[in-house]
């Protein structure tokens, strides 16, 4: 089974974000890491490969730094990497990003394409579904379990809302977006890190993919949200703070 997994590199969770140029953040002085939702997709790809044999190809788009995230995927067990190089990848709208990814993935003719649920930076949450559309493949989203893998189809458990689930059968090749929490993500071993050094990362310049795209939307500006509520902080020892809170809830908010 040939599996492509799309992984995005995003600012590290604890990175202090400073808005730059009005529409993006200052990238210098902050750390980057694998988008957490995508790490679940990678883990699922590796488990499928271990169970059914095959190949896992990690695809990422962005500037030179995203190679580090591809290397992390290789260290965890992906077989090779594809880097779609574009310093301005963050300015693409969801459809533009999906068209570019699709153009690179098409060349691989995979059996399965996995993505995470959404990214922790833009948070569009559209890439997987748009990829499927561009690749002309069926898809299913918010996958909590992959089972019944046959040569030409598979069964997946989709998460619906409010505690409901549904099994869906879909023909291969297909695109799946993986729900966060589906598995326990592995760490790279020292052996894996050493092995990754010998693995191949092919870099393709995004403009060489021949993608034409007129943006469908534009981010005018980004800004720090204004607080909708003013939090009243209650200080003192734990005992004092607890007493103050109960007092406020009883006599000010009148909810007790």
């Amino acid at each position: 089974m040939k599996i492509v997994v799309c992984i995005k590199q995003v600012p590290a969770k604890d990175a202090p974000l400073v808005i730059a140029d009005g529409t993006w953040i200052r990238e210098t002085d902050i750390g980057f890491e694998m988008n957490e939702p995508d790490s679940f997709a990678l883990e699922e790809a590796l488990r499928l490969k271990e169970k059914h044999t095959g190949e896992v190809i990690a695809v990422s788009m962005g500037p030179e730094r995203v190679k580090q995230t591809i290397k992390e995927a290789l260290a965890k067990g992906a077989d090779r990497g594809v880097h779609i190089a574009d310093d301005k990848a963050h300015t693409l709208d969801p459809l533009g990003a999906a068209k570019s990814l699709a153009a690179a993935i098409e060349r691989e003719t995979p059996d399965l394409v996995l993505t995470g649920l959404q990214s922790d930076d833009h948070g569009f949450g559209q890439t997987g579904v748009l990829l499927a559309d561009r690749l002309g493949l069926p898809h299913a989203t918010l996958i909590m379990q992959i089972g019944g893998v046959e040569s030409d189809h598979l069964r997946v458990k989709r998460e619906l809302e409010a505690g409901w689930f549904q099994w869906v059968e879909l023909p291969l090749p297909a695109v799946l977006t993986i729900q966060s929490g589906i598995n326990k993500v592995r760490y790279a071993t020292l052996k894996g890190i050493m092995a990754a050094k010998k693995k191949e990362i092919v870099t393709i310049a995004r403009e060489s993919l021949g993608v034409t795209h007129e943006p469908t939307q534009r981010i005018e500006r980004i800004y720090v949200p204004t607080k909708t509520k003013k939090t009243e902080f209650l200080n003192g020892t734990p005992k004092e703070a607890a007493a103050k809170l109960l007092e406020k809830l009883k006599h000010e908010a009148r909810v007790l």
Binding site: A140, A162, I222, A241
Partner: protein, 328 residues
């Protein structure tokens, strides 16, 4: 402008977020002096269309087909593409539900158009619509505008608008059946039965008070402490997603986008950082109190009262105080 709202139902029951987005759509239609239609899609949903027609709308579109009985991304995309070709809307609004996430980007892309997803609001400035959505996990907000020719697609996050603000019409809106052509061969995925993992033991939406635990509770053996506090307050125990993923509490106790959406009179968050996925499920609560070690935790963005500190010291103090007043 022509605006089309696409509502969501499953097995004849509304997804209530539809009405929040209806409130948003009515507001936008009012401000932009637009015509507003709302679509119901499925099989045997004429009653729902009739119910929807009582709202202040110019038209209700009824899109029915045997192959739309069960949701599939292919079936819904094909049917809605045809409906859009007939109704010719400029702006298509949808609630940002799990189902919408599954097909709406594809629907927009099949027309070569884009979607601004998961919006928390909009502004109408100088004749232009600006959609507001979160980025970087809610650490920043973005103003986003459409480029190129309509139709444009946008979805609104649960809780972004209030369903109780939906305006009723003076008379019933006309219901127009929209014929669609669909064949089984066009639908590539096969939906099987829908089921619930855990038996729904408790309906958290009915609880007046919720004490909710997050990652900060650290270990399953600390849960009884929170449970005791919930009982002393006359409330129920709930949790954020990681707690249920770990199996420390059953899935039916989960609050957030993948769990239940609640609006109790008091929501007490213990060790919950306040990721958007959780906040969308509880931000409608009348009063929110939060106890967290990190004073920069996003939960304090929505909290009325906050205590920055160790919940393992503060919760026992709350319990002690409540037991004292009870016995006196």
């Amino acid at each position: 402008m022509n605006i089309l709202l696409i509502t969501e139902q499953r097995e004849g029951k509304w997804n209530k977020t539809s009405f929040e987005t209806l409130a948003a759509a009515q507001q936008i239609a009012n401000e932009t002096k637009s015509r507003l239609a709302a679509a119901v899609i499925g099989k045997g949903v004429a009653d729902l269309a009739g119910e929807l027609a009582a709202s202040k709308l110019d038209e209700v579109l009824l899109i029915e087909h045997d192959l739309l009985a069960a949701y599939t991304p292919d079936g819904f995309t094909i049917a809605l593409t045809q409906a859009i070709a007939q109704a010719k809307p400029d702006l298509i609004l949808l609630p940002h539900t799990y189902q919408v996430r599954d097909f709406a980007p594809k629907l927009a892309a099949s027309l070569g158009k884009g979607m601004i997803g998961d919006c928390i609001g909009y502004r109408h400035e100088n004749g232009k619509l600006i959609f507001v959505r979160q980025m970087f996990q809610g650490k920043t907000v973005a103003d986003v505008v459409f480029e190129g020719a309509p139709p444009w697609f946008a979805t609104f996050q649960a809780g972004a608008f209030r369903a109780d603000l939906v305006a009723q019409g003076e008379s019933k809106a006309p219901v127009t059946p929209i014929p669609v052509e669909l064949s089984a061969a066009q639908i590539r995925t096969k939906p099987l039965e829908i089921f619930r993992e855990a038996k729904q033991a408790v309906d958290l939406t009915q609880a007046p008070i919720l004490v909710s635990v997050g990652r900060g509770i650290k270990a399953p053996e600390n849960i009884p402490m929170a449970e005791k506090l919930a009982h002393l307050l006359g409330g129920e125990l709930s949790a954020s997603r990681p707690i249920c993923d770990e199996g420390w509490l059953p899935m039916d106790r989960q609050i957030g986008s993948s769990g239940q959406t609640v609006a109790p009179k008091l929501y007490l968050a213990l060790g919950i950082s306040g990721a958007i996925q959780h906040v969308v499920g509880m931000k409608g609560s009348r009063t929110i109190a939060a106890i967290n070690k990190d004073q920069n935790a996003p939960i304090f963005e929505v909290a009325d009262y906050g205590i920055v500190g160790d919940l393992f010291e503060i919760v026992p103090a709350l319990i002690e105080e409540l037991e004292k007043t009870k016995s006196s």
